[in-house]
Amino acid sequence: MTGVAVAGVGMHPFGRFDGVSTTDMGAGAVRAALREAGVERGGFQAAFCGTAYGGVATGHKVLSRLGMTGMPIVDVEAGCASGGAALMLAAGAIRAGQYDTVLVFGTEKMPKGIIRSSFFEPWQEEAGLAATPAFFALRAQRLGRASGVTKDHLARVVVKNRRQGAQNPDAMFQKETTVEEVLASRVVCEPLHLFMLCSPNEGAAAVVLRRADRAAGAVPVTLAAAVLRSHVPGPVLSESTPLSGLADDGVPAPTTLAATAAYEEASLGAPDLDVVECQDTDAARELQSYEELGLVEPGGAAALFDSGATALGGRLPVNPSGGLLSKGEPLGASALGQVVELVRQLRGECGPRQVDGAKTALSHTVGRGANAGVIVLTR
């Protein structure tokens, strides 16, 4: 079985771009990734496009714009992990020998405000039981109790990520903030204030994958694992957002299922990681991800954060791109945006937000479905 290499990456910045369509953004990211990979028309045999709100044939519209159709083009929806799902399918096809070179991209224009999801039944919206930030808040409260996470921790996660995002030209918010400013923003759902929640927004990202034995490039980056998992029922606060769950805290989260499989696929473990991009839809979600990804033992999230290990300059910087708290979240593009950042980190191209000497990187997204995607990249 052949390995899979990343031959090129490209990005359309994340933000709000009136008058720029989903197709425009996707085409921009794809063109940049193909250029970097040295791939032209006819140089890839399949394309997978992550999108949740793009509508029918989003991927076809992007590749039609570029005059690059004829090959299979498959749109992939897996909530916040859509890009990870697309990457998993592409990598699997290359490993199986089906294709040599595959284009993976994600593009999205999210509606403004709280994300409305067709996932919920109308009565659930009518009764107020479909408020996404409320589920985030309930998780934050439980994490607070289990792991000693305080509101001050949540504010400091925002400060950390916004400081890192201030160095990222592709981020929506490139301005630092303070604990005082975060806590002065309005309460959306206690304990979460507005600045502790990421903004749904717009953007695109693209990655060209190639059989490792056909790849070239100065600093080859290997896709060591690309795993998608759904939930196992039980946890009432699972991203599957059930209306009930069991009084049993021993059921693994989808993120843990995906991470465990990804470490096995990549033949390494959490202690081997140098840099992580993880789901920080809200500030508590980043801390919860530390535990679910095995970066620290259960209950240890606040202590790991307090140690400074996860800030730029620490032992294991998390979200050097600024995370979703700085970049915003275009669902279909967010996972591939992480991959673009990590590939650039592994190549040493990140300037002031560079994690020195990074050799092993992990990308994590989780959301509605539940879907959890974990990707491991090495050089």
Binding site: E125, R145, V236, L243
Partner: protein, 132 residues
């Protein structure tokens, strides 16, 4: 006319009752009612009435109206653990998080949600602190 936000979730009686199921194969308690069990994939769940009282496991309040919501804000949302080992996502009658505490005894109530365009009073299930 008083109508339920959705049929089959609860009995709007005095006292009210949440309608669940218990799986005949694995014993798991489900809410809402289901003819299949998500825990063991069997088709054996039987209808059961759930306990009216439980304890508060998590809570918050929603301060701005989410998409599709037709009631007033702020409103409480939380999770109540029932003695049969099931945790239920529910509205709360209390919307000030500062007044609630973990493990607090809670009791089922049916509460007004909004008046619809056809002159109906739409009601839903909620849990509130047990009156002393």
């Amino acid at each position: 006319v008083r109508v339920m936000v959705r049929d089959g979730l609860f009995r709007d009686g005095e006292p009210p009752t949440l309608l669940g199921s218990r799986c005949g194969a694995c014993g798991s308690v489900l809410f809402p009612r289901s003819e299949t069990c998500p825990y063991c994939a069997s088709s054996d769940p039987e209808p059961v009435d759930l306990s009216r009282r439980g304890s508060l496991w998590a809570w918050t309040a929603v301060t701005a109206p989410p998409p599709g919501y037709k009631g007033d804000v702020p409103f409480g949302v939380g999770i109540v653990e029932l003695p049969e080992g099931v945790r239920v996502i529910t509205r709360l009658t209390e919307h000030d998080p500062g007044t609630l505490s973990e493990g607090q005894p809670m009791q089922l109530a049916i509460v007004p949600l909004h008046h619809d365009g056809d002159g109906n009073d739409v009601v839903t299930y909620a849990f509130g602190p047990v009156s002393p």
